[in-house]
Assembly symmetry: C2
Homo-oligomer: 475 residues x 2
């Protein structure tokens, strides 16, 4: 997930605040529903249990991360990912597999190095933030000025910032629902613009993350209109704490920074779409999604090869079990990380079509622990049935009035009904946007629990599955 | 620790094998000692308990890693570390603080990058091994050939290796005593020479380590006499497993490798020495040590700022408690990582002096869990008293016929009496020689337990502490 789009981060923040208030009431309500819930459909139970042995999702995550690797939006690597995706989705038997392309501006990483040059010379590990400005090829050197919070930077007089390299050290805590990300993303999202406005030579922030490894967390930021781009980087968390210790010694601290990313102009990205055709072509559809692009530092196993894999594996399992009433549409969005370009392009083309529900998996591979939905008051029975069907997977009933997602965020904000299978994100920000987001971080059992949850959700919302006419089951 | 010197790794390997055989017998013997052990000396008990609140060691680790940072042997950074060390040891009140310099050949890292170019183009994370040869500035590209073990590389015909880049994937398991390091270091220690002899263009190995982060483990290797240096690097463990997956697809795999380290000729390194003068200048001395240099990728917090800190903090605590019979000599060795140059220089100058015991802390900050010693049969009572005094720290009695250490390894091999306060190394090789060896990895409580163990050891072996004449206690 990018988290940088206003829609997505606002929704996540509201979500978490509301969650605190609603938790008790909602869970009580779930235990004493006002609407009778039908007994579990044996077909759905069987699908759910079988999905706990799923291998489709692992095959997709392993294949995409191994055979494509990092796939930055708008690059040839993302184009290879689309070709891989089309081949994979076709081989799984989905219908209407296609790519919808769109153009977008592309920023690519260059060299990136940082050093403390005084008083204690030593190298640091840094990564440019997406859309960072560049230093000259020989780098820059300037005094470093530290701020504990973004508010402190905002309050600082121009005179103390001008010509210096700004460092913001505020530290994101862990949270299960990821709400701390939205709450602490300020230095990345807004810090560069604030620093530039005050005449800073550059800005480096403590990575927005929760690990202690020498792997910086990149992520997109956008300079506000009229603001001069400056070099903007993230230090790994051990490096950020090292800089804090050095600053605490009280001597003037100087940093050298070399960062040579560049904007390479307009390039093509695209969304990869596939379908399980429903029996009723006029029934509002189910959309399940993830995003195909990744940041360039890792192979995007967790963000978001796992998400596309979970969505597709669930659709595959339902498709093989029978013919749903509603069409299930899988969308593997392009260019999520760098600004939700794929989600916005999809919404422009397809936002007005009728949807029964939309859902996106883009929060790693932690176990699904809660189901939130926003299907509308008249569909409360359906929402309750969904909660009941998911409960055996250890999933607690959440809100009936909330849903979120990254690429689908704008459509949710438009009022499209949505479901969120909330994953445990306690350790998600150890890896998020770092070189460490690699296949070894994917727990196969947790991935299977996700597939089981998504399979169950599709089965419940599908309008019922009927046997495939005149052909043998696919496996 | 370097582990590459034949002495050290052989000793550790023998140690671990012998440990298995001796464990039961030794621990039984410890429970039923044939020699009566005197009741605990209250002065020693008080020293041990006070050391569990030690801050001296943390101050040294924090200071050295912050104010110097990485300190590769023979570089100006190591020279700054020596200056820092002299000032710190003097400020702690030690006597005879001095540097003994020596010359050594110095190898420094350059650029290092690797990519799979076919069939699935993607970047990899690599670090050159110490003494690696260099590629041309534009890098090399060649077919990659994989071997599961060093034995498989050794058995391979020249024809399949010549002109290719060799990849050895064998994987080191965890072990509490670090014995798996000695057993699995072959690809780093010997792989480059074997590959070069067979005409390989370069070699990359799976890092000799136990973590799953994108941080390669460097470490020294030496080309055998007459062997042409070739580029030799370590892939991070996630990268190594990625390459294995790519190779398993069965298509020809090509790698591009850019690695530009260089030998910069002879430079100066040195050992920093300080003393707690004993009441009897003729009594055989106690030597406690660690090494001051570190690899260049991290700040060497665990390897081995912690070791020098533990040794010095223990000596400081004993010094402040009273005047020992024997002189305690602290040695912070230079140039350990790159070939035990400091240890060998010290041995050449001081190896023939009389030592009551020598000990080195160079295995991280894991808790001391066992005490081994080799003081000789006639000093069994002293060894048993040491075991008894350490037991309340959760330290089990180990062998009476084994001691090991890195810089002190050659002197131990010469027959000098030694003590090993064996640390739990289960997670040591997650960090060893990687960028991740930083201060945040040091657990203050574990560091204190180490200081308590070393303080106790010095107190037991010191020949008794007498009050400082005519001066106030130092604190």
């Amino acid at each position: 997930m990018t988290g940088a789009a206003p829609e997505a981060s606002h929704i996540r923040m509201k979500h978490s605040l509301a969650a605190l208030l609603l938790a008790a009431a909602t869970s009580l309500a779930a235990q004493t529903p006002s609407i009778p819930i039908p007994p579990p459909d044996p077909k759905i139970v069987a699908l759910r249990e079988a999905a706990l042995k799923d291998d489709y999702a692992w095959d997709i995550v392993e294949g995409l991360t191994t055979e494509v690797g990092p796939r930055l939006a708008g690059t040839e690597a993302e184009a290879r990912a689309r070709a891989w995706a089309v081949a994979k989705l076709r081989s799984l038997g989905f219908a209407n597999v296609r790519v919808e392309t769109f153009d977008m501006p592309v920023w690519v990483r260059g060299e990136e190095k940082a050093w403390i040059t005084a008083p204690f010379p030593q190298p640091l590990v840094v990564a440019a933030l997406g859309n960072s400005g560049a230093t000259p090829p020989q780098g820059i050197e300037a005094e470093l000025i530290g701020f504990d919070t973004l508010a402190a930077l905002e309050a600082a007089p121009e005179a103390v910032v001008r010509g210096r390299i700004v460092f913001v050290s505020h530290a994101m805590p862990r949270s299960q629902d990821g709400s701390s990300y939205g709450a602490f993303i300020g230095p990345r999202a807004r810090g560069p613009s604030i620093a530039s406005r005050k005449g800073a030579a550059a800005i480096v922030i403590r990575s927005i993350g929760t690990d202690y490894h020498r792997n910086p967390h990149t992520g997109v930021m956008t300079f506000e209109p009229g603001v001069q781009p400056i070099p903007a980087g993230a230090l790994s968390i051990p490096d950020a704490e090292q800089v804090q210790r050095i600053l605490k010694r009280g001597q003037p601290v100087r940093m050298r920074l070399l960062m040579t990313p560049r904007n390479i102009g307009t390039r093509q990205s695209g969304n990869v779409i596939a379908e399980v055709p429903g029996r009723d072509p006029n029934a509002p559809i189910l959309l399940v999604a993830g995003h195909l692009d990744s940041w360039d530092l890792g192979t995007g196993a967790v963000d978001d090869a796992s998400g596309v894999a979970i969505a597709a594996a669930a659709a595959k399992r339902v498709m093989d079990a029978g013919r749903p009433l509603r069409t299930i549409r899988i969308v593997w969005f392009g260019a999520e990380e760098v600004g939700l370009f794929g989600g916005l392009d999809y919404r422009a083309r397809h936002g007005k079509e009728p949807y029964h529900a939309i859902a996106e998996s883009d929060f790693g591979v932690g176990r699904v622990w809660k189901v939130d939905s926003k299907l509308g008051k008249v569909r409360e029975a359906e929402a309750r049935a969904l909660q009941a069907a998911l409960a055996p997977l250890g999933i607690v009933p959440g809100s009936l009035e909330l849903a979120d997602g990254s690429d689908i965020g704008p459509m949710l904000a438009d009022g499209v009904p949505g479901v969120t299978l909330a994953q445990d994100g306690t350790r998600y920000f150890d890896l998020h946007h770092t070189p460490d987001d690699t296949l070894d971080k994917v727990d196969p059992e947790s991935l299977r629990q996700n597939v089981a949850a998504w399979t169950t959700m599709l089965a419940v919302l599908s309008g019922g599955l009927e046997p495939h006419p005149k052909r043998r089951p696919r496996r």
